[in-house]
Structures are given as C-alpha cells and as structure tokens.
Symmetry: C2
Subunit: 341 residues, 2 copies
Amino acid sequence: MNLKKLSKILGLSQTTVSRALNGYPEVSEATRKKVQEVALAHHYIPNMRAKSLATGRSMAIGHVIPGSTRREIVNPVFADFISGAGEVYAQNDHDMLLSIVADSDEERTYRQLSAKASVDGVIVHGPRENDPRITLLKELGLPFVVHGRAGDNHGDYSWVDVNNRRSFERATEFLFDLGHRKIALINGLEFMDFAQRRKGGYLAAHRKHGRTPDPELMISEEMTEDVGYRRALDMLNRAAAPSAFLVSSMITAIGVRRAISDAGKKMGRDISVVIHDDELSYLPNGVDIPIFTATKSSVRQAGRLCAQMLLDIIREKDLTPRHILLESELTVGESTGAFQK
Amino acid sequence: MNLKKLSKILGLSQTTVSRALNGYPEVSEATRKKVQEVALAHHYIPNMRAKSLATGRSMAIGHVIPGSTRREIVNPVFADFISGAGEVYAQNDHDMLLSIVADSDEERTYRQLSAKASVDGVIVHGPRENDPRITLLKELGLPFVVHGRAGDNHGDYSWVDVNNRRSFERATEFLFDLGHRKIALINGLEFMDFAQRRKGGYLAAHRKHGRTPDPELMISEEMTEDVGYRRALDMLNRAAAPSAFLVSSMITAIGVRRAISDAGKKMGRDISVVIHDDELSYLPNGVDIPIFTATKSSVRQAGRLCAQMLLDIIREKDLTPRHILLESELTVGESTGAFQK
DNA sequence: GTCGGAATCCAAAGCGCTTTGAATGATTTC
DNA sequence: GAAATCATTCAAAGCGCTTTGGATTCCGAC
C-alpha cells in the first residue's frame, strides 16, 4: 500500500491525502476523517525512504560507538544510557542508528553519516579531552549533543554531564572525615574526560586537607570487573596498603569487593569503598540499604536528557549551545566505616 | 555535493558517473578512474535516502528491543550481542537501527519497520515460547533471524542458539558427580525460551539420577544482581539449604556470591556455584583461572553469527530457514568443589 | 449580476539516486 | 564500402513522498 493506490481508492489526489494525513489546514474535516479511516483500514504507513527524501529529514539520530580498542559498546553504562535515549526517540517517532566502529574509522563514520544524510543529528559518546570529533561535527554542521564534556573549553557546544569533579571531591572528603588517609583511586581510562575530572576532584580534596596522594594508589584503566579485582588485590598486598577505595564504576567495584574478600578483609569494616553509581538496571546498588556508599547519578536519565536536548535543537533549528550539569547524590551505604588503626 | 553537481564537474552524465562508482562494466576504465578520483577529491558520498528509494534497499538491519517492562536493552548480555552484530554490519556497510519499545507496542513496531521500509531485515531478541512475532514477521515477508528459539516448532524460521538444555544438563550432572544433591536453579524469567530449555536440562539430569528436585530451589526471575543476592540468601537460610547453585547469568551469580559471603560461607568450599557465562567483556570470568565453573558460550560471537546469517539471507534472497546450534564449553573454575557433609 | 475571497482540491515539479532503452562512434565483418 | 557488432555514453523515467502554484467551486457583498 502506498500513497498512489490509497488516493486512487479514495478518489482524491495524492496532495490532498498527504495533507489530510499530515494535519494541514487546507483540507476539510470531513475528507480528513475519511482519509484517516481508509488509511488505517488499509494499514497505510508512509514509506520512510521517500518521506525522508522529500522532506530532507531522516527522523533518525546516530550514536557512534567506539567498538574495538575502546569497547564502549559493551560497557553496561552505555546500555542504560541508550535505553534512556531510546525511550525519548520512541515517544518522538524517531529511530536510533547505532554505528559500532573502530577508533580509526571514527572520523570517516561521522563524515559518512552526515553525507549519507541518514541521520538528523548525533550523540557523541565518551568524549576525550579536546576531542577532534567536536570540531569535525561543527564543521559538518550536523547537530549534536555530547554526553560528557571534552576538556575545559566547553562553552561552544551542547552537552549533558555529571559534575564529576564535585562528586569525587565530596566522596574523597567523606573518606577523610571518616579518618582515612590512604585512599586509592581506581579510575577509568586516562584519556577519558570524566576520568580527568574525577581525578581532579580527588586531588582537590587532598590539597584541601594538606595531603599528597600516593601515586601508586591512583590507577586509570578500563572499568572491568577483573581490573578492579587485580588492582585492588595488588594494592592490598602492598606494605602501604590503602584503607579505602574510591572506584569509578559499579562493575570495577564488584572486582574490588572480591579482592577485599579474597584478602581476608571485610568491606565496610576493614576497608571502605565509595563508588560512582550510574544506577545500572541490572546492577542496582542494593534494594533498601545501599550496598556501596556512592555518588549516585542515573545514566539512563542522562540518556533521556541528551536525546531530548538533541531533538529540541533539531526541531528549533537553533544550534546555540545548551548545557545541563547534573549533580550527583551522595548516599551512604554499608561499604564505608571509620578508619580502624 | 551530489551526483548532479559531480557529473557536471566531470562533464559526464549522471548515469555514467553512477555506474562508474558502482562498478558496472559498461564504463571504460579510464573514465572510471577519473570519476573515482574526482569523487574522492570532492568528498562525494551518495545520499542514502535517495539511494534507498531508488534501489529499494535500505542497507539497515533493525533490532527491536523490549524496553520498559522487560528491560532487555539494559541487559549487559544484550550489549555484547549487538557489539558482535555491529562489527559484521560495519564490515558489510550496513547500519543498525535500534528500536526500544514498550511490550505492547512491539507488534506495531514491526509493522511500521516493515511498512516504513527503513530496514531490510530484523533480528528478534529474547524469544518466548510460541512467540507471536515470528508469525507476524513471516506474514510481513520481512527477513529475520531469531537469537534463540521459540518453543519446539523451530524448523520453519532461521535462528542461532546455544544448546541450553544440554549445557544445563551437563552442568547439573557435574554437580551430581561432585556429590551435591540439593542443587538450586536460579533461572531467567519463566516465559523466556532459553529459561525453559535450561530448566529442561536441569530436570533431565535429575531424572537420570532418579531424583526429584525441590521446587523451592527453582526460581525464575529477572537476571539482576540483587535478585541473585536475595534469592540465594533466602535459600541459604532455609533448613533445607542447597549445597550448590546453578545460575543462569554472570550478573545474577555476582549476587549469589555476595549472598554466600554474607552468609559466612566460602564459595567453592562450602557452596558450589556453576554459571552460564556469556563471556561478557566487562565481566570476564577471571583472567587465567576461571572464577566460576561455567558453561561458556560467547554471546558476542552469537551476535556476529546472527548478523551474518541475516545478511546472507537478504543478499541471496533465499528465505529458506537456516539454523546454528552452538555448543557451550564446560570450564571448571574455583567456584565448585566436592560436597562436604 | 459581478466580483473578491474563502475553502477545497489538484497537476506537476522536485528530493537524489538507479536503471531502462536508445544514441553515438568506433571497429569489425563480409 | 555497407552492414553488423561492440564499446561507451546519455536522456529520461521512476522510486514514493511533499509541496508549490494554480484551478475550481461556492459564498456573501456590492
């Protein structure tokens, strides 16, 4: 079923049928009703390819995910993010186009997405400091929203971010207040912007308390379970073992917890742990009482906000930068306690 | 830059330029070379909307994910799956279209996807027994591949699945051989096909050993960490506590491990655990020695196979059903040991 | 009566590509 | 040397929709 056939059935022109269905005022209410009925009865749904070509809008948003070296796609954090974004797209009748690409192909992918005209805008994931993608997208004139920020110069593009620096500063201070002095930081990959900010917060808190952190206690790696396990175990076996861990992700923290347990210690009593909790659906931080003390911020909600912001930008055709800075909530759970000599 | 301009620059017709770029033989090598050079120099990439309309192929594959009640999308297993599929799409110049929809809208979404012509085929996720989506897709004539199977009648559609029944039968027998008799099964949601098959394997092993499993030890729920924790803890506190757990997912197993630890027991010594390991990138089952004894099968690889199968079906225009049944590997880790009286 | 303007509707152009069917030279065949 | 063949190239139609720029009809107003 297509427009041509449908209008033949109705005895109307394609123009009128198209207008009737798209809510234009130049068509009488009587005919509009009739058209809608017949369209429904014949399961008529406009061919999107044709519609896109005619309108110049593809009604789709692109998400380009680094897939090989940096395995962002498999990061459960990402899954929750696109789940939130997808909700918004569904409500607004948009599609989500996912491209999983090797790092080296990233620029080419964006260029293609823009030239092929298969999307109306993109969400940029996992920004690094001074991320080249941002310059590229501005040059291409393709609307975009960054999930996170890319370095200090973040006034001239749109983004949604968590106040990572503040979160980790507070978390570190919280541990200081409990009496901890040797606090390990198990962070995400060095070149990720959020990791830099979190480190910044961690360092700021140390400065404030007049202390220099032990560089051996600060590590930056991919946020997998086994990294958390191995690194924490290593640290716990050192002479200058930490009494507390500040961990960038729930996944890594699960590894840290395993390490603590394997080292014969008890989390919350012998060793304190504070995590950043993205409120992952499949890894909730306890049900009534939080398992981990955490700086909490829903990444699913961030996905919703990014998507909504991008759709607004596209609809309003207004590229002036918008920003949303989310504050995390510090929730105290069972994984922290006063420092035991 | 578009075809029209490009052909004007070249002093050729659109026909010739199009053919030169698409590798048709009716164009001399000299002109083809020239065309390719100029196209590259001007960053010419054909507009996909127009190309789709003209060819009738959208070069995109749809993945429809239940998003609200059943939160499949946020299942980390899913993330690894689409990562594998995405690889194959990228190699074959296809896009991935992700639709996250409420369960109630699922049928409508498939109809739309088909009518809107925005995809050339779809992957069906999380099949239930006698899944209505399969009938629908056949009726619509939209090529598809199911990840998993939907009940016993699985000869007449294409699928890629793990031999779940056999996996869990072997795993159960493995525990029997170690002397365990009270074996708990912490399974996925009842109506999911894979959960049924795993239960089937678990029951078959029991029958073989002439034992009836305690129904209180068999649970079916969403595969989150906290479900694993709460259910395992409940069971461990019962009079007739199990000595071993058979767990459907790494995520749930992490909760089970936490419960065992909280119950003051040691996994591998006091309580044995066997899991199904989908080889999730962010939750690897140990690096050298496996943490958990597991029936192992890479879901990322399953994603690759599904994608490749679907692309083949579309390319060959041959809808005759194809099947791949993957066998899992039983790897013995540190989470199992002989039954201690 | 005629005119102007609403209210409806329509024919046809256009979105950027592929593809059919035909034209143009160049080359071969008899 | 004319006819037939081949290698290249092109003009134009078509994919299914939107949208521009009229047409047509029907009114009340003058």
